[in-house]
C-alpha cells in the first residue's frame, strides 16, 4: 500500500482526519485495519478513534501531542496497516416495503430507473454487509448495493424519521435504530430493534455481519413488532 492512498486532513486543533483513497466500493476494511494499527501503536495522547466510511477521525489531546508529529505517524501507519475484514454472522432482517412504511420507495425506484417491485427484489437479493456502526447508537451502514443506487441524499432533512426505517443514499442502506432526523430516502421499515440498552454490548449488529432483507407485509410487520415488544427479536441469525 503506498502513502498516496491516504492523506491527513486538518480537523481543528484536537483531531486529524485520515482519508483513505482507493479502488473498491467499500473502504471500511481498510479503515478498521488502520483503527487497529493506531490502537496497536499506542501513540501518546490519543483520545478516541472514530471510523467513518472512508476516513478515520483521530481525536487527540493537543496538550500532550503535537499535530505535525501525529500526522506523520498516522501516514506511516496508514501506509503499512493491513486490511481488517471482521468475520461476521449472517442475519435476516424483515422489512415492510408498503407505502406507509417506505414513503420514498416509488420516487427512489424512479430515480434508480426501475419499477418499485424490482427495487424491492434487488434489495432482498443483495447480500448486504455491515460496513460501519455510527451516527446514532446501533445505526448500521450497509454496503453491497449496485452503482445504480448511488443516489444523493434528499435535499431537505426530514425532522422525524420513524425508528426502524430503511434508508438508501450514496450506494448504502441504513436502518434508523430510533426516531431521529434524517436525509436518506426511506424505502421500507423493519419492526426489529437494533439496540438493546440492557444487554452488553447494547448494539446487535457489528461491522462484518451480513444482512439479508426479507420483505414482509403490513400485517406481518405488526405481528413481528408485537413479538419484538415481548422480547422476541425480529432480527434473526440465519440458519
Amino acid at each position: 500500500m503506498s502513502e498516496a492512498r491516504a492523506r491527513v486532513l486538518p480537523c481543528g486543533d484536537a483531531a486529524l482526519l485520515v482519508e483513505l483513497k482507493g479502488e473498491g466500493d467499500d473502504l471500511t476494511p481498510r479503515v478498521l485495519g488502520l483503527e487497529r494499527a493506531v490502537a496497536g501503536a499506542a501513540l501518546p495522547g490519543i483520545v478516541e478513534c472514530v471510523p467513518g466510511l472512508t476516513t478515520l477521525l483521530v481525536e487527540y489531546d493537543p496538550l500532550l501531542v503535537a499535530p505535525d508529529t501525529l500526522a506523520a505517524d498516522l501516514l506511516i501507519l496508514a501506509a503499512s496497516a493491513s486490511v481488517h475484514q471482521p468475520i461476521g454472522r449472517r442475519f435476516e432482517l424483515p422489512v415492510c416495503f408498503e407505502p406507509d412504511h417506505g414513503p420514498d420507495l416509488a420516487a427512489t425506484a424512479v430515480a434508480a430507473g426501475m419499477p418499485a417491485d424490482d427495487l424491492v427484489g434487488l434489495l432482498c437479493h443483495t447480500a448486504l454487509r455491515v460496513a460501519l456502526i455510527g451516527h446514532l447508537p446501533g445505526l448500521p451502514y450497509l454496503s453491497g448495493l449496485p452503482a445504480v443506487l448511488d443516489l444523493p441524499r434528499r435535499p431537505t432533512v426530514r425532522a422525524r424519521v420513524p425508528a426502524g426505517s430503511l434508508g438508501l443514499a450514496a450506494r448504502m442502506a441504513c436502518v434508523y435504530p430510533q426516531t431521529a432526523p434524517g436525509g436518506w430516502h426511506l424505502v421500507g421499515r423493519t419492526p426489529a430493534r437494533l439496540v438493546d440498552p440492557e444487554s452488553d454490548p447494547p448494539v446487535r449488529l457489528s461491522p462484518g455481519d451480513s444482512v439479508r432483507l426479507r420483505a414482509v407485509d403490513g400485517a406481518t410487520f405488526g405481528a413481528l413488532a408485537d413479538l419484538e415488544a415481548a422480547g422476541e427479536p425480529a432480527l434473526r441469525i440465519e440458519a
Binding site: L9, P10, C11, G12, D13, A14, A15, L17, E19, V47, E48, C49, V50, P51, G52, L53, T54, T55, L56, L57, E59, P62, L63, P67, L132, I133, G134, H135, L136, P137, G138, L139, Y141, P152, R153, P155, T156, V157, A169, A170, P177, Q178, A180, G183, V195, P197, E198, P201, P202, V203
Partner: protein, 327 residues
C-alpha cells in the same frame, strides 16, 4: 441510602461528567457536560475530583430534597439557587459551596444559557456508570436511567464517603484580577477537512457575518442564523467522524456547530472546527445571542489553549476556603 430526591425535575436536568469515550464504534455519542469548564469549577468548589458526575441544568432547574445527613453542593453558572430550611427560604450564592442537611430543599432557578449551568454535588452523583461514564445520553443505546433527563421521584445516590468531607470549610471562587471566568469575544475557528468546499464568499460570510444562536439549538448542535454559505460542489461526504465544535454545512448552506450529543459520524461537509479553547463557551451561549467567528491557525489556537489551561489551574486553586459565613 444517602440520596437527593428529585421533587421536581426542572425542564431538562441531566447527569453529566467529562463524557463517554471509546463508544463511538457503537454509534454512542460522547455526551457529557456542554460546558466542561463549569463542570471543572463546580467540582473544585465541592472538593470533588475534576471529572465527578454533576447535574447540568437547562432553562429551569430541579427541586431537590436532601435525604442524607449532610450534602455539599456548588453551582457554576448563572442560575439562581434557593434553599428552604425549616420553612424559611433564602437565596444561596453561586460560585461557592453550601452544605445542606437532611430535609433541606434546594431550588435551582432559571438559567439563560442554551445548554446549562452545572450543579456539583459533594462526592459526585453516584449513579451506576455505563460504558465508562455516568453521563446521560439522550440519543439512545443506554439503560433507561442514563437515557433520559431526570424525572420527579428519581433518587440521586450520593457517595457515602462524601458526607465526612462536609466538615471541611466551604469553598468559594475568589477570582484573581485579569482572569475571566467567562471569556468573551469572537469564537475562534480552525480549518476543517472540507475547508475548500466553502467558496471564498462562503468563508467571508462565515467569518464576517453577525451570527445569532437559533432558539432551536440543543446539545446536538448550535444552529447559526444570519447567512447562508455558498458551497462549491456538493455538501455530501461519505459519513465521517465529527469532533465537537465541527462546523457542518448542509446543502442549503446552513451552518451548525456540532455539540456534545452530536452523531458520532455525519455526512455533511465540515468546513471548520471551533478551537478547543472555545468549546466550553458553546455551552454558555444564549438563544438569540449574537456571535462572531474568526479564523485562526493551530499554532495560535494551541497557545490560547495552554494559556486557558493555566488560567483554569489558577481558578481551581482560587476555590479557597471561604471567608463568608456558612448558611
Amino acid at each position: 441510602m444517602n440520596a437527593l430526591r428529585v421533587v421536581d425535575a426542572g425542564v431538562r436536568t441531566l447527569v453529566v461528567d467529562t463524557g463517554r469515550f471509546g463508544s463511538a464504534r457503537l454509534g454512542i455519542p460522547r455526551s457529557g457536560a456542554a460546558d466542561g469548564e463549569a463542570l471543572l469549577l463546580a467540582n473544585a468548589l465541592c472538593g470533588n475530583p475534576p471529572g465527578s458526575a454533576a447535574l447540568e441544568i437547562a432553562v429551569r432547574g430541579p427541586q431537590l430534597l436532601v435525604e442524607a445527613p449532610v450534602c455539599r453542593v456548588a453551582l457554576a453558572g448563572d442560575a439562581a439557587l434557593r434553599l428552604e430550611r425549616d420553612r424559611t427560604r433564602r437565596e444561596l450564592a453561586p460560585w461557592r459551596s453550601h452544605t445542606l442537611r437532611r430535609g433541606d430543599r434546594l431550588w435551582v432557578g432559571a438559567t439563560r444559557h442554551v445548554l446549562g449551568a452545572v450543579l456539583a454535588i459533594g462526592g459526585g452523583v453516584a449513579v451506576e456508570p455505563c460504558l465508562g461514564s455516568r453521563s446521560t445520553s439522550l440519543r439512545g443505546g443506554l439503560p433507561e436511567r442514563l437515557g433520559r433527563p431526570l424525572r420527579a421521584g428519581d433518587l440521586l445516590p450520593l457517595d457515602a464517603a462524601a458526607a465526612r468531607r462536609c466538615n471541611a470549610p466551604e469553598r468559594a471562587l475568589e477570582v484573581p484580577v485579569g482572569i475571566h471566568v467567562h471569556p468573551q469575544g469572537a469564537l475562534r475557528l480552525l480549518a476543517g477537512p472540507q475547508q475548500t468546499t466553502l467558496d471564498p464568499t462562503g468563508w467571508d460570510a462565515l467569518t464576517g457575518a453577525e451570527w445569532r444562536v437559533s432558539a432551536s439549538s440543543d446539545r446536538t448542535g448550535l444552529r447559526l442564523e444570519g447567512a447562508r454559505l455558498r458551497l462549491r460542489g456538493v455538501a455530501d461526504v461519505p459519513s465521517q467522524g465529527c469532533p465537537a465544535g465541527a462546523v457542518q454545512v448542509s446543502g442549503d448552506g446552513a451552518a451548525i456547530i456540532l455539540g456534545v450529543d452530536r452523531g458520532t459520524t455525519g455526512g455533511y461537509c465540515v468546513a471548520a472546527v471551533v478551537a478547543s479553547v472555545d468549546l466550553p463557551r458553546l455551552g454558555r451561549l444564549r438563544p438569540g445571542q449574537r456571535l462572531q467567528l474568526e479564523l485562526t491557525d493551530v499554532t495560535r489556537a494551541l497557545a490560547l489553549l495552554r494559556r486557558r489551561a493555566a488560567e483554569l489551574t489558577t481558578l481551581v486553586a482560587a476555590c479557597r476556603p471561604a471567608t463568608l459565613a456558612p448558611p
